[in-house]
Symmetry: C2
Subunit: 196 residues, 2 copies
């Protein structure tokens, strides 16, 4: 309290978390290959030795970034959905959330689709993390669909919805049109029974 700490550039304790946070922003905006370790370190104000004390390699840092991204993505989406209580509104909120994401200034696509695109199958761990993330989103969608279509129909429909969201991401990335989310939602609604 009495200490001055004017800049306080980095919180004292968790260098590691700050490193992952910085890397997440830079990799998201600039790509995994194009952004080098030195740039992450400079931006984070962290020494190289500290990085390699926490992670054995750049790919391990990327893997941790993806795990963190998965946590934040799901937490943010769930928080937004939970502002609605009616099942159909909760489902619609998923697409609204995506539209807002697409409209963010630095939007550069889905980090998991991008990692699959950059590393192809060459780095199995990263490919696996991408798969797990998409699977988690699909499971979440299935949970939102259950009140609307029943527990039997929900999984297959969740896969359809997942494909629509990936399509919206691709369209938004290439064309820059955030309206892709609404386009996807209009298609998604047609897949639901008329009672919903």
């Amino acid at each position: 309290m009495s200490s001055p700490m004017p800049p306080q550039p980095v919180s004292r304790a968790d260098k590691r978390a700050h490193l992952v946070d910085t890397a997440l922003s830079l990799f998201a905006a600039g790509g995994y290959h194009a952004v080098g370790i030195d740039r992450v370190l400079a931006e984070a104000g962290v020494a190289k030795k500290t990085l390699y004390a926490h992670f054995p390699s750049k790919n391990a840092l990327i893997a941790e970034v993806l795990r963190e991204r998965d946590r934040r993505f799901r937490a943010s989406l769930a928080a937004f959905v939970d502002r609605q209580s009616v099942p159909i509104d909760r489902l619609a909120a998923v697409f609204v959330w995506h539209r807002q994401w697409f409209a963010e200034p630095g939007f550069a696509g889905c980090m998991f689709l991008n990692v699959a695109a950059e590393f192809h199958g060459e780095v199995a761990e990263l490919q696996q993390l991408a798969r797990e993330h998409k699977q988690a989103v699909e499971s979440y969608l299935a949970g939102l669909l259950e009140p609307l279509v029943g527990v039997d129909a929900a999984p297959a429909l969740a896969a359809d919805f997942n494909l629509l969201l990936d399509g919206a991401i691709g369209v938004a990335l290439v064309s820059g049109d955030a309206g892709a989310a609404e386009r996807a939602w209009n298609m998604a609604r047609r897949l639901l029974p008329a009672t919903a």
Copy 2:
């Protein structure tokens, strides 16, 4: 005729075309950043000076690769579609063609989505080429849809179909499931009037 030419490793005349062809394969399989110029040259059996006599930079080579990929993509798709004559079958053929593409051994996603993912907006020319390719595909879809839904409804529906195809590409890339194409087609059919 009398000349031996046992290896004939490279066709005499068009070094440039051979270079683009080799680069297309390598970039498609390995990504744009991960594959270096030296690897392309070694694989193509072409000297570095020849490359830089034809292209001012690596990015210019990538741009030409994308133009070539666009030509081949559209020619291959159109040839496959033209084996059908009934409008609804022609439309279905687009999704069958995609399913076969996804099932190819070295499938690594769409080169245009991938270039947008790797270079983000940093290289405007490449971003533009990706946009143009997707626009061309969408226009082609609109032409296939016209006999089914009329000239007025076709453009908007073509955008929907384009989103479905991009979604299928994303799902196939991450999960490795070529069935994503059929999933997309099943959704696409629901968007058509019942008479089709």
